[in-house]
Amino acid sequence: MVINFFKIAWRNLLRNKSFSFINISGLAIGMAAAILILLWIQHEVSYDNFHEKKDRLYQVWNRYTTEGETGCWNNTPKPMALAISQDYPEIERAVRVNFLPPVKIALGDKQFYGRGRIVDSSFLEVFTFPFVKGNAATALNDVSSIVLTEKLSQSIFGDEDPVGKILKLDNADNFKVSAVVKTPPANSQFEFEFLLSWSYMRMKGWDDTNWLNNSVATYVLLKKNSSLASIEPKIKTLRKKYDKDDPKIETFLYPMSRWHLYGSFENGKESGGRIEIVRLFGIIAAFILLIACINFMNLSTARSEKRAKEVGIRKVVGARKKSLVFQFLGESVLLAFVAGIFAFIIVELALPSFNKLVDKKLFIDFSNPPFWLAAFAFVVITGILAGSYPAAYLSSFRPVSVLKGSLKAVNALITPRKVLVIAQFSFAIILIIATIIVRQQIQKAQDRQAGYAKDNLVYHFTEGESAKNYTLIKNELLASGTAVSVTMTSAPVTEGWSNTWTLEWRGKDPKDRTVINRFCADDAVTKTLGLQLVAGRDFDLKSFPTDSNAALLNESAVKSMGFKEPLGQIIKDMGQDWHVVGVIKDFIINSPYHPLEPMFIAGANGWFNVIHIKLNGKNPTGKNIASLKSIFKKYNPEYEINYRFADEEYGKKFSGEKRTSTLATLFTLLTIVISCLGLFGLSSYMAENRIKEIGVRKVLGASVSNITILLSKDFLKLVLLSFVIAMPFAYWAMHAWLQNFPYRVSIQWWVFALAGLSAVFIALFTVSFQAIKAAIVNPVKSLRTE
């Protein structure tokens, strides 16, 4: 019986080639899109899943409430780990991790860069990073031990055995390779390339017992029989005992399973995080698949008249409803199976581009048995989903009526098929509206004035000798005509590195906790960055040597501090008095989606990490860069120059939203393509079923356009209804999305109009093809077929 079913299913597939093509391609595209998203979701939800002790691992977090606002952060003081392991018997281990910026690694003359972590020696016992060479017990025992990942070892040593070899870090200290661990997978929080022992922190004098300095991550491993519930109330008040300054800060443990997907807190409460995106994409995947399944349902039921006779005969010769349901489900599963093969081919072809798009390294592990199981389940579920309604519909035909040929397409007010078309188009319209608004929002942020001149502005981090030789470098850059202005700053102009509410000035309300961005610049900062002065003057050390403790404020800061006359005011910060010499217009240092924030720029007595260089616009950029390289090479010979263009860095602020926009566009197009495939198929069946009617109408004098309008009208009504349904959903969803951006577009009515019109146009275009085709047939021919 099963063989008979598949035989007839296969023949149906081959016989109705256009139907099969539309169904399989629609289903394959839908499945491929869903698979891509599922791969991404699988990647997201499997973060740090590979740690054997993952169920017992927690990160130490802090919670502090002031002025009714609760903030949470995960950096801890260095002595936290020791205090925890001393005071709480439930804890098996406490491990500290200190993040290092990318650092130069030298093997003889060869230079490499690597991202490292300084960790307590039990790090490799607590977390699961399998050893390729060496072992956990001895890997980090020595102050000069370095553990490399397989990848870094490969790039430095090639296939040689690195153990025992000496590497020089940051031109300063020598380390001996003690072990090699497997490179952490992409779905891990721990993106290190090498590990150093905590004893190195002590040797460098970087370790401290200061409870005010929250600068390292602390992780704990709970003992096997301990529960979080038992330790939670006790650990909450840990700081009471140790932290004399902030005894009220609460301590809590945050489980590993939530680090990646959640890990975002709002006023002391977990507030979603990545899980929201994962859910959103999950919903999108489900919808795209559903839309593809709806195509199948629509086309299968539209063809019902052709299958009705078969159903009738089978019932007459003894088939029960159950066996017919089984037969039709079998057919849809077979179809889903064929579509599934195509879908996986599409996925394999699309993965490289998709990976670029989402900035991941997703892949299908074909050697993995669970993959095959999941793929099989996916195909079967899709087939059953797609076949459920047609199976129920077709198997319920009564043989008496179908064999007599009295089964006629009923033009009922609401048929399930219409509902399905409306569902498809509603979703498509929602996506069109969402895509337009996402693009608008990005455009608005991109069009926003940054407040400084990004052109010809490059910056360079002060590595090696470049800080010491800064004056020489600056003079030569200016003298050679490479640059028109050079300024050393605390942070890149595109990144706010420091902020505080502890600035003091005369007349400050003691309760004022307004956070002010802190930035330092040695000289001529408005000239180099192209800031706009509103009052006073730029830093000018040559004319005013006291400018080393001068300060600039932006307009928001002046307003927030309440100065009527800002020039000459004294601001206390970092144990110094800074006198305000100028006021600048606000510029964007953090997010272009946020309102402009108050900023305080301290003079040459501040701290410095970055050299900003305004290149000479009269020279070609290539020439400037060549000259820049040679000057840095001269004064900082041990280091490769590592400059960045401010406009490129600024552009990166949009990458996340651009990705959202590209994905939204992609899924919108897919949805439209799949929906149109369905509509195309549906309209062809409609036209086929009305061949006689069309013939009669033409004989009676209807024109081609009359007929085309007649056939298109019904579909148009459905699309318009979809529009009415989609509008409120789209408005609600996009309104909620825009709340993420304090600087945002308002939703305009024409976006809806445009989306509605595009949907109508697309539907009309799809349907009219079949309608015109049916309308131009010679009526003699269509009437003869009776």
Partner: protein, 225 residues
């Protein structure tokens, strides 16, 4: 074999009520060949559908082999039908996607006959119907007469006690029609009960008895000699 008493069937739409069968009483004995005749709309097709357990009456009694089946549910009717009744239609009603062999095999599949046995029985009946050489053809590749022979083969492959034929020659020319009528006669002579709806006096003469219907009632019975 069949006894229906006071059978009623009324079709209702929003505005019109059509009485298809009006307290109809008929008896058909085992081994009989009965023709049902009457003008269009007299209820003969409705009667055939009810006899074939494809439709149920509104009221009245339908005894099939001594069992009351008027109130059987869909599943029970299907079971009874597939074991006891074969159908021949005016428009053949073969499945276009299946070959001649597969079409004839279908009833055996649904009664759960094993594959080897199915092959034997299908081939035997195709042989009998002289259509064996066409076993791997699809219905569209056959003439009308051949298609109807396939349909008859399908109707008898399960050795039903009763064959219901709904204008079996309606779509055939006279020579093909005569051939089909001869097939039915042969089957009847081998013991199969046959009830046939027809418009053709010529075909009706093959039967033992003609029941003439009008407005859902029998008006006349002719016994053929």
């Amino acid at each position: 074999m069949i006894r229906i008493t006071h059978l009623e069937k009324v079709y209702r739409t929003d505005e019109v009520e059509t009485v298809a069968l009006n307290k109809l009483t008929i008896e058909v004995k085992e081994g009989e060949f009965v023709a049902i005749m009457g003008p269009s709309g007299c209820g003969k097709s409705t009667l055939l559908n009810i006899l074939g357990l494809l439709d149920d009456p509104d009221s009245g009694s339908f005894m099939f082999n001594g069992i009351e089946v008027a109130k059987f549910n869909e599943r029970k009717r299907a079971d009874l039908r597939k074991r006891n009744i074969g159908f021949v239609f005016q428009s053949f009603n073969l499945i276009d996607e299946l070959t001649v062999f597969e079409n004839v095999e279908l009833p055996l599949i649904y009664t759960g006959v094993k594959a080897a046995e199915r092959k034997k029985r299908v081939e035997a009946v195709l042989d009998k119907m002289q259509i064996m050489h066409r076993r791997n053809h699809y219905p569209q590749q056959l003439s009308g007469g051949q298609q109807q022979r396939v349909a008859v083969a399908r109707a008898v492959v399960n050795n039903p006690k009763l064959i219901l034929a709904d204008e079996p020659t309606g779509n055939l020319d006279s020579s093909n029609g005569n051939e089909v009528m001869q097939l039915l006669t042969d089957l009847n002579e081998q013991g199969t009960t046959i009830i046939m709806v027809t418009h053709s006096e010529h075909d009706a003469r093959y039967s033992h008895r003609i029941i003439r219907m009008l407005d859902g009632q029998t008006v006349l019975e002719n016994i053929m000699v």
